[in-house]
Subunit: 348 residues, 2 copies
DNA sequence: TTGTAAGCGTTATCAT
DNA sequence: ATGATAACGCTTACAA
């Protein structure tokens, strides 16, 4: 492995000059002929400057860590793509870490990212309420700031971190308003794990919407954001004959669709089913799933953008690198899975 | 940010001793009392040893890079989880890189991983035939070996790399055998991009199966592994009235299902539809999709395992770190989307 | 425009 | 059992 020294020797210059030529940031003047010789030597030796050595002295690794609950979930994957798109352009390497929604591994990953001196860390999805480990995570995060790293929450909030997100509660409430507008009065809700902050917010929004409409929550079932979880929650919900079921994410809504089919309850004729997230599966489902669309790719883009800005600031000034929290707009996507309850009059 | 020096000072020992206590690998004897003091100082200062500095001298970063075409695709995501599961246990950090199936960004990522001196790089999915950039990638990969890094192909082959994979051609051929056994004679095929090696292999297997059965390939359409691509390929295929359509991955098969529904062709009564991969969407589809199941998680596990083994070997000996290629078993998963063509007799 | 030398935070090699 | 010191491969004052 050729180092900077060999390149220097081969080009007949000092390592400083090599650095000045090869360092993408350096604007230092170098004679054209010298530059040529260095470039030639570098490519001849197939030289690759060590990002490690560079990071050690510049104190910038150009690495950002992304923590998410489940890499398989398209909900997160789309956000990651947004992050990666702008990260790559800025010459940053994205380290994706799968926490499996386990606070323990989450904390371990943060520690690892700190050991590598990641410039930033982006936490995707809602906070998990788990006081013991939560406390440890918080300490880990403040430790990150010790060396000038930036931490941001994306698509969910985390205690003490600026968040780039949508308003989950408002979105859920708007969905309820839509359902009520359709004429629904018996509306069931399937929430995600209630120890996840976004789950809670969506539930809160649902309850608020119901209350504002002067209704009573027909029934609320806690589930786990999975297809299977939605399926069995639907089995518990359907016997009570709601005219609409609102699942806190698309995966669960798909499970509801399947359960309804099996039980022989027609969607949307006999029951309206709606989800949250607008993942591509919602579009391809049969019937097409009415859901809350959130700009996931854009969420990732803006989050990484914010990180970059904060990093740049704290580069010259060493002020508290401030990331400004942002709320992006969401909107309802109406598809075939929702209809007026009248459609089912007298049929059940 | 506290460094090793401060810990040493606080504990009243040399930095060497601190290193010996805190380095997880070191077996060097240290007096119990000294050890205690070092540990105390470290935790008091919230010390985190710099993985960068460590890597610089040990020449092992404990980072592995994973390159894949599309992080959103559950096909890849599941493999990544397998890799991550064993990587984490071994104290390795996984860097996931999204190439968007673009040879250019793929090469840039490899370069970046080399700059960071990643210990290994795992290429997921088939090779993309693109001679110009391909040549550059190959050079990049050999350069990796220069500093002792390991490169492996997973779920697809890459010129010159050992692969952990299934036999795609054999799998496709077996599916054809199954369809033929069902009585199908008019079988259409929707392939993935033909410049991707796995696409080609699956097509080859299909053709071989057809030929062995003494049939003629009914019709072959090239597509792009997406739902939409499968949908439009089906639109082109269905008018010719095949009794079965074999899509080279599940996503496309789902597109076929949708297209059939729209055109009013019943599955499996009028046309059998099968896929490849057995992603969870295949299980949840209506009707359930018959497909080729491949042990994707296990593929990832074994690949990372192989990488670890190779790394360990080249640690003591500096022999060519040999990863042994492996072929894992696959099997057909029969669901409701396939049936005998007799079911449709006289109906079309 | 070019070069010298002092770090960056570890581990590794010798001494003691 | 402990410590001093030289790397590791770069960037960055400071000189020339």
């Amino acid at each position: 492995m050729a180092g900077i020294t060999e390149v220097a020797r081969q080009a007949g210059v000092s390592i400083t000059t090599v650095s000045r030529v090869l360092n993408p940031v350096s604007e230092y003047p170098v004679a054209a002929s010298t530059r040529r010789r260095v470039l030639a030597a570098a490519s001849a030796l197939n030289y690759s400057p060590s990002a490690l050595a560079r990071a050690l002295v510049t104190r910038r690794t150009h690495m950002v860590g992304v923590l998410l609950g489940d890499i398989v979930d398209p909900y997160f994957a789309e956000i990651v793509r947004g992050i990666e798109d702008v990260a790559r352009r800025a010459g940053y390497l994205v380290v994706v870490c799968n926490t499996s929604r386990d606070p323990g591994t989450e904390r371990r990953y943060v520690t690892a990212l700190r050991d590598y001196r990641a410039d930033a860390i982006l936490l995707l999805g809602g906070d998990i309420f788990d006081t013991p480990t939560r406390r440890a995570l918080a300490r880990e995060l403040t430790a990150l700031k010790t060396y000038g790293a930036v931490a941001v929450a994306v698509a969910g909030d985390h205690a003490g971190l600026p968040a780039i997100d949508i308003d989950h509660a408002a979105a859920a409430e708007e969905m309820v308003r839509y359902l009520v507008g359709l004429g629904h009065r018996r509306i069931g809700f399937i929430s995600g794990p209630l120890n996840v902050s976004t789950s809670r917010q969506r539930l809160d929004g649902f309850l608020k919407g119901i209350q504002r409409a002067g209704l009573e929550p027909h029934q609320v079932e806690e589930s786990d954001f999975t297809y299977t979880g939605g399926y069995s929650a639907a089995e518990r919900l359907l016997p009570a004959e709601p005219t609409a079921i609102f699942a806190a994410n698309d995966q669960m809504a798909l499970g509801v669709l399947a359960a309804s089919r099996v039980v022989g309850v027609a969607v949307p004729q006999q029951v309206t089913v709606v989800g949250f997230g607008n993942t591509s599966a919602a579009e391809h489902a049969v019937p097409g799933l009415t859901t809350v669309s959130m700009p996931r790719h854009q969420l990732g883009v803006e989050a990484m953008q914010a990180v970059l800005d904060a990093l740049e600031v704290s580069g010259s000034v060493d002020s508290a690198s401030a990331v400004h929290p942002r709320r992006l707009p969401f909107h309802l996507v109406i598809r075939e899975s929702s209809a007026t309850p009248n459609a089912a009059k007298g049929e059940r």
